[in-house]
Amino acid sequence: MADAPMQHPDADKLVGMEHEKQYDFQLPEEYFYKSEKGLTPEVIEKISAFKGEPQWMLDFRLKSLEIAMKKGAPTWGPDLSGLDFDDIYFYVRPNEEQGTTNSWDDIPEEVRATYQRLGIPEAEQKVLAGVGAQYESEMVYHSLKEEWEKQGVIFLDTDTGLQEHEELFKEYFATVVPPNDNYYAAVNSAVWSGGSFVYVPKGVEVDVPLQAYFLLNAQNIGQFERTLIIVEEGAKAHYIEGCTAPTYASDSFHSGVIEIIAKDNANVRYSTIQNWSHNVYNLVTQRALVHSGASMGWLDGNLGSKVTMKYPSCYLLGPGAHGEVLSIAFAGDGQHQDAGAKVIHAAPNTSSSVVSKSISKGEGTSSYRGLVQIHEGAENAKSNVECDALLLDDTSKTNTYPYIEIDEKSAHVGHEATVSKLNEEQIFYLMSRGLAEDEAMALIVRGFLEPVAKELPLEYAVELNRLIELEMEGSVG
């Protein structure tokens, strides 16, 4: 067992390993601190104390917990009955050297095999699998970092962001997604840890994408990440979260909150491809406030997990604001991807576009759940929604739940949905050119995703393709 490198008044109790060992709990040995199971004020106080947070953050967390308790979990959407909060550790502090929760041997063979096949360096594999604490980012990151600092760009993990830029942090934190927004946001607000904090000053254009990958460490791919991105007037940034490799987690509940503020004429993109291991419930709130003339784009890919609920949203608050959501979902056997978009037009001449592409296979289900709301006075607002579902076999399912609320006469709203099945003739055609059956299927799937995938940075698109090939390999009947 690792030593606790940091003293805390309650350290003995917190570490608590000896105690649990006596009762033969099956705990991996690398833990340095693990909260008690369940969500209680005591757990929250300990988290906050451990992080050495200011009082206001602790108060915020406790109040959020109260809100969560009052609200209770929503009853709509996918089946979440497998989630038992009393059986979940809400905070696991990673061991500084060894990483988080897992020992390499605990990582399922299939996950390890996938890393191998994606050709991911071992150090990085270990972080993704929750075994290593820190992936030593390449030199390129360090020179980028200098460049960003010169421009006044802040790019830190959220805990460090709070420590080093408390005033700035406090001004914006939880203003986009307040704890009373929804149950999972409240839970995240109570127990958040990790994520990224980004600040781009007025007029600064960040050319190289800010990749969370650069900050990749055990904390960052934690259960309750909290990301806060502020892009000032006329500034520009592209933030990329995660990577396409499967992220192994032994814990089963993940609930992130992403808050973005795009000030006047700012241009912001947020791209993420999540590929959690198949035991994870992934319930994320992603929202952007988009001011006058600003443009916000979400690119959201969901490949793994057991259940995902994720509806990136754009609140178009100022005239001429533009919002875009491109999403990809792949629901494999036993998975439920409930994804979509939310666009609120609250000002004149705002525009939005939503493109959703889902693929379902085996006993998988993918649903598109979307809301387009046009407020009175949002004159000439334009919105276009296109959702396409592809079913790979007879057992997979897809649903569409488009909600459209229009209170403005001059609005233009378009909605188009298609469902198609993997076409035998296409497969035969491609095979007749020499492609094996699984290659043919993967190619059709890639083509189906292409309108969204082409918006990805090249290396992500390449990884996505390889991943889909892997997903398809077992598909040939």
Binding site: Q426, M431, S432, G434, A436, A440, I444, R446, E450
Partner: protein, 258 residues
């Protein structure tokens, strides 16, 4: 005798569970020759073509298909393609989001060892050469496979693929249908460019017109699921003139060889 030929022996095939559509087809195309296959609508020409390529919608109840003396019945469509067979479809499908260039590179690499993938330059040189041969605009290779293509463009794409993939044996199923006269010449030019000692083709057509440009070594006539007669290129002209009832009568009366 040389083994280099595409051979169909007493082939019977049907839609799974249905009645036979092909009722004993016999046909041989030696390497180095181009044969034409004609016949009325519904006589089984496309069925024959697809069965040869391995379409899983059909089931073979008797007979054999051989490439250079080797039966392909147990081969999947992709294995047959890699063995050198190519079918230009009567109705090529669309595959959205897949560019012609990407698709053809995959198809070429599928024919090569994993550690011997075709170089990017070599590939583009080859592809651009084929595009030029067909008098086509270069931008076509970035278009998605048949997505939004006109009927004629789809046919031209089938020939483009043929030129890039360089099969040993090609079956062209009504590649001329729906082409304007200029496109017809271009397509014929493409096929003639592929002609050579190591290449055999079976050209399915309704029109003698095509055969003015692709002059066949033999002409076969199909009716009700069988090849009822064969002859030289004059037969196509005569057919054009006199029609299918004439040839059926000729065969029945013994005036034409069965």
């Amino acid at each position: 005798m040389s083994e280099n030929r595409l051979e169909i022996r007493n082939l019977h095939a049907r839609i799974a569970g249905g009645v036979d559509i092909l009722k004993g087809v016999d046909l041989t195309v030696p390497a180095g020759e181009v044969h034409a296959l004609m016949g009325q609508n519904g006589s089984g020409k496309s069925t024959l073509a697809k069965v040869m390529a391995g379409d899983p919608a059909y089931e073979i109840t008797d007979g054999d298909i051989l490439i250079d003396g080797e039966s392909v019945l147990e081969m999947e469509p992709d294995e047959r393609a890699r063995a050198g067979l190519y079918l230009a479809f009567q109705y090529p499908v669309e595959v959205p989001g897949v560019s012609i260039a990407n698709f053809l590179r995959l198809a070429l690499n599928a024919r090569r060892d994993e550690d011997d993938e075709i170089g990017v330059m070599e590939f583009y040189t080859k592809l651009q050469g084929a595009v030029k041969e067909l008098d086509w605009d270069e931008s076509i290779i970035e278009r998605n496979l048949h997505e939004g293509f006109s009927g004629g463009e789809k046919k031209r794409s089938e020939i483009l693929q043929l030129l890039v993939l360089e099969p040993k044996y090609a079956i062209l199923d009504e590649t001329d249908s729906g082409l304007d006269v200029d496109a017809l010449k271009v397509v014929a030019h493409g096929v003639n460019a592929a002609r050579g000692d190591a290449f055999g083709a079976l050209v399915i057509t309704h029109y003698q017109r095509l055969l003015n440009y692709i002059v066949p070594d033999r002409v076969h006539v199909m009716a009700e699921g069988r090849v009822i007669t064969s002859g030289d290129k004059e037969l196509a002209m005569e057919l054009d003139d006199k029609g299918y009832d004439w040839i059926k009568n000729e065969v029945a009366s013994g005036a034409a060889p069965a």
